[in-house]
Symmetry: D2
Subunit: 434 residues, 4 copies
């Protein structure tokens, strides 16, 4: 079987990853990436499903307006997306490729996320993607979280599994998910029922963090995580009243001061004894000009808790502060919960399975049963759904040296992790046959 994981596959993984990296697409606009994935799966012989066949509408978070979507679809087509496939997507990127062996056997699913981030990639020598010429050409978007690698690994797995199709039983679902980064891309697929027959579920992520808080380096593996944070994303806008700060200062209702007060006090929320609480106001914009009392201000925050109790506590306190600051400054407040992701836990049995299979993949040398996702990932939505139906699942960390931290403009990871990752996932499928 070694022959499946050769130099050619490695080259393909790297080429794919760099292609996805170059044409970075953020949540809900992964039309080109989905098109490339769909076409490749079709060519390999997968039963490929798109758009409303794999996703329900109305549960997306941060879904852009029509004009923006139109623009992004066109941009994607200009950059090589198949216009017919884009049409089939009906505004909902994402691909599910199904390999049904026709034989009785396990139903296994893998989740690969595809979206980039709203960061401007650093364009300087010293940054590998820039030096090698595959830095993102889509201004303001960049793959700073490794999803380009995940998608490539998914395509590698697709190729190898199809080659060994005859040896397999049951059904395999390769889920290429959009909008992991704050878009709730998973929940639409869950609600469509994609996960309902799945018995074994695996999601992957390069990097991750060990329990000692240090990053998982190349050759390391984390077989499961229990710390998916329960995550609520909240947008706030304050509407006050403009006034001239000299001429009629008392007439103004200062929305910017309200937002600053809210921000500072939100960061002062006390921790919770039952688990990690992480709250961040990450973006704030207020006011129109220096000589006008700021009539409006907006800010975006994220409240994550180690479990629902902690997250509920955080959300309650956040809401009290948002409303309290508004009433302090007599401004109107609009609060939108623009996203939420539940916590979840890897299954012991799934962890052991990964742990055992990883021993057979040469690359891995440092084994951790449990690690930390250090935040949230809506793979948790999928794991919970699988568990609900009696299946098991886990979230695997694939160690990779990286440059700069996750979500940084200069993020990059060791591409060597991709080939052994394909091997690991394929061998998991094999193991499940037995």
């Amino acid at each position: 079987m070694e022959s499946y994981f050769d130099n050619m596959l490695e080259k393909q993984l790297i080429d794919d990853r760099r292609d996805f990296h170059k044409y970075a697409e953020v949540k809900w606009t992964e039309f080109r990436t989905s098109s490339v994935v769909a076409k490749r799966l079709m060519d390999l012989g997968y039963d490929v499903k798109l758009g409303l066949d794999i996703c329900v509408k109305g549960v997306q978070f941060g879904y852009p307006d029509e004009e923006y979507m139109k623009f992004q679809e066109e941009r994607a087509i200009t950059q090589g997306a198949d216009s017919e496939l884009v049409k089939q997507m009906a505004g909902l990127p994402g691909v599910v490729g199904i390999l049904d062996t026709g034989k009785k056997g396990p139903v296994t699913a893998f989740r690969f996320d595809m979206d980039a981030l709203n960061n401007q990639e650093i364009l300087e020598s010293g940054h590998y993607p820039y030096e090698e010429g595959f830095a993102s050409i889509n201004e303001g978007f960049c793959h700073a979280c490794g999803h380009d690698g995940h998608t490539s690994i998914g395509l590698g797995v697709a190729q190898v599994l199809m080659k060994m199709k005859d040896k397999l039983t049951g059904k395999i679902k390769l889920i290429f998910q959009p909008a992991e980064e704050g878009g709730g891309g998973a929940i639409g697929m869950v609600k469509k029922g994609i996960l309902d027959d799945v018995e074994y579920f695996f999601a992957i992520h390069v990097g991750l963090t060990k329990l000692d808080g240090l990053p998982l380096k190349s050759h390391g593996i984390i077989c499961g995580v229990n710390d998916f944070l329960d995550n609520r994303r909240i947008d706030v806008s304050y509407i006050g009243k403009a006034a001239h700060p000299c001429g009629d200062p008392h007439v103004g209702k200062n929305a910017l001061l309200a937002a600053c007060a809210a921000t500072l006090n939100i960061h002062s929320i006390a921790p919770h004894s039952e688990g990690m609480l992480r709250i961040n106001v990450g973006k704030l914009e207020g006011g129109v000009s220096r000589n006008t009392i700021a009539p409006t201000a907006n800010f975006q925050l994220e409240c994550r808790g180690e479990n629902q109790i902690v997250a509920d506590y955080g959300e309650d306190k956040v809401m009290a502060i948002i409303k309290g600051a508004a009433s302090m400054y007599q401004v109107e407040s609009h609060i939108d919960i623009v996203g939420c992701t539940p916590s979840a836990t890897s299954d012991e049995k799934a962890i052991e399975m990964v742990y055992s299979v990883a021993q057979d993949v040469d690359w891995f040398k440092e084994y951790h049963r449990i690690g930390s996702v250090g935040g949230s990932d809506d793979a948790s939505d999928m794991i919970r759904q699988v568990q609900k139906n009696g299946g098991i699942g886990t979230y695997i960390g694939l160690g990779a040296d990286f440059a700069s931290g996750f979500h940084h403009s200069a993020f990059d990871f060791d591409e060597n992790v991709m080939l052994p990752s394909v091997e690991l996932l394929v061998k998991l499928v094999e193991k499940l046959q037995k």
Copy 2:
């Protein structure tokens, strides 16, 4: 007539002032000062009224508890107060001395305030009262606003007027008021009717500020002020919930953070285009120990506006912030308005009268029709009452070099101002005869 204002009177003024200074008494506890004043007036032949004869109950601000009052009464008696007179005061210091000439003529009143401040006087060489041995022996209390001088001037005026009684007509009321410093000592006297028959009213204050913002030095006089601020004094207490900051931080409701947020944001209230607004949170106490989430916090503030509109605006904003901060931190709030003083304006005619008489007092060399009180003084309550009944009044600034600023622990003023001040007030009475 010159003979009235001689070295002996000067010595008496200085001796009196130093005596009052040494036995400094704060608002509502001026028992010894009142006793000394009452006795002197009686000896001079004044009709002296005390306690409930000159003041109604229930309108005082910051009136201490019974135990404290008992202690202060005893302290006063130990320091020389007449116990019988203290008894007559019935817990309400203050003295009104009436000189009724029996002849038809004007009813004139002078207001002298008597209370000290809750400051610890500085006890160091370089501080004149300390060097001369008349620094306050009442720990934590000190005459840092010159009321010791006002009271002495009042006694000087009493003495001279009685000597020239036969030349006088009408009635003269010498009002020795307690609790000017935030106690609302005037309003109880106003409500008792003390001012109802008064046609001419004069209050005095050493120092004051000229319209150019600089202090009025020795030899200067300000004949009136129009900027008594409308003043509201507010006490706030927040009641949260204690908790161990490590063991159960999420259980706490942090009253100290609420108070800090309120304080900062109260100081951020925008100015008002219709006049000066001055808001100060001057005192805050919160928490019980470093390793407990603060269950309580209290703070005291003052909101002053150049007129009622501005003060109303300030109070409205202050209240919004106090309540908003409480709801931010989910703590209970108790808000007490513990005092208020209205704005007022000196009468043109009274100003001109002072301006003209001041020309006849040698000491004065620099004349200002209008100056600034730079805050509030509840003489405004009395002026308003006099004006309501058709009388006129003003508030006179008696220039005096001083060491350190008002309300500072090292405050002291030029005692030479006292003799000419007596002369001025006496000559005002004479002028009113004509």
Copy 3:
């Protein structure tokens, strides 16, 4: 002489005003406006000066970058500016038209400012410019401060004065100034020496505020102001460090929290007893996304004081807070003073001149010697220069009913004020002949 101020002139004033309004141009981009003005003055026979002949370089505030200026020049030409004139302006809009009678006599200058604001005009029925079809077509720019009217009045004055040229003596300078709104458009002209020979200087502004704080309505006039605020405009940027708020929160240096702390505390700066202090952080932007600790934040503020002492005090406190907040959060700070305008005072003699002439203009019915500019205007730079050389000057408020407040998106003023304003200024010139 009445014949000069007829219906035709009125129509021209209104047409001009609406034309300038429609093609609103903000500071340093008034190319079309300047071109229209220059051409008209040339046609009338004025000696017209532009660009480096009337302005020195390097003293401008908020001067845009080259690319933006190129774009604005082209926009102006597309909208009717003369490309040759724009070239002569050399990137410095502004026009000076000189009428030299050749006869000995007074040198008189008028200042008309031309720039619009960075506001998006409201485009709704009920807003007169929108209903009449002359709302700004330049997105995000609008005449919300009446400078469109000032420029039209200037052209009206130019026309009448030229007609009566033979009756005049001395020299008249019509100064059409760019960049009054925070750009320091005056100082470059001052430094070029434009004001050096001026004996009488008048600047105008529609609206203004009476000393009672109420707006000056149609038919009112304010003959001078003494409250130009000393104004410093400051831009701050904080550079911290991005980090994942769950994964490595301790690595971040939160620039947004620093900016919020700075903003709140800047608004807490205590007032100054020597005069009005107005500080406003009017615009703030920080952070990149909700799930990133904000690596950067920028804010813009204005610190104005009634005189230099007060403004210096404010600036000192602002700087301490900006730096203190930066060190609190261990972020780097960059502080730019992007503008400053001095305080100034109208001359008594100039005020009386205006007061007397206004009696002869039918429209005016309510006369105020002194009013309030309620902020700052760099006409103060010009007045100071004229005074330095022994001349006199004043700043005239031309009462006009208006819709919405100054700097609001729905601002509009009573166009009927323009014709009598031309008459007033022309009659001032006549008066100066005598």
Copy 4:
């Protein structure tokens, strides 16, 4: 052996506990408690050491001033302390009782802390100590953390061990420690060498918290903890400048605003990914009166980290904020580190020992190898010293239902825990013989 743990012992434990509770003494003033303990140990035949024989000077935190200590010593003597013993203590409460069997064997030490807290005990029906008449008579002091019970247990252990002396080998040290609550009472004993020969060390605490965050109830036991927090206690005072908020607001330097800003921002310090960080500003006092700009403010905080790295991080951030806030408001800052306690870890072997012995004590029914101290306890200083010399140690949680939370004014615990606790400790000694 059962006979040792009878009703009489139980009664004695309860009597002792109530006696200590009634005469609650806070850190460094435990003279009466120490005297009672020393006397009892002497009577039992222990070699009793006091004062400078068991403690070095100069390493105490929060050691009171001489006057206060004198007062407390006298208070203690009035309440029954032996004046001779108090003299021997030389200002350093604390007792070590040594039982040297003379036979070769293990050196075992137990730590019992004795100090109360600066809380006013609640004096209301419903509060058991109040109802039973043993509420603290020392105003403002109360045993709200169970140390009264610890001391009683220590005396119980002392009694039983002495009775079974003949069966024992080696040496037993009963350490009655003062000033656990923020006073660093342990470190002076450690530095004196008290722990240097100890091979087995056990500290106890009633209550504690299970790993699930819930309190350990009666019948539960926790055999060790690994989460002693590294704790730094910091006192801050800001010195600004008083000024009248109306008269000369710009002269003031507002220490209270600086303290509020510091407090809010200190609570905004981001968490650390390597472990729990707990920072609390628990007490703040600022200002002198509402109508004075606050010249001074003081606050007390505690910064605890799961390990030294985390605590160092917290301290670094705290210091930056304290200094930054001071420079914001141009006030002087004085920062004192008034205490610190290291983190520590229970030894596996010691834990197993306790776990096994607890099976033999009837009362215990719910066994936890590991629990949480949920904060810090300077037993960690002793454990580290023992470990340094090759010994082992642990910190034992003795489950007890309690009323209200730790450090609350209404805290009380189930006295039934005391007898089985004595039994457990005695059986540990027996076990160590084998």
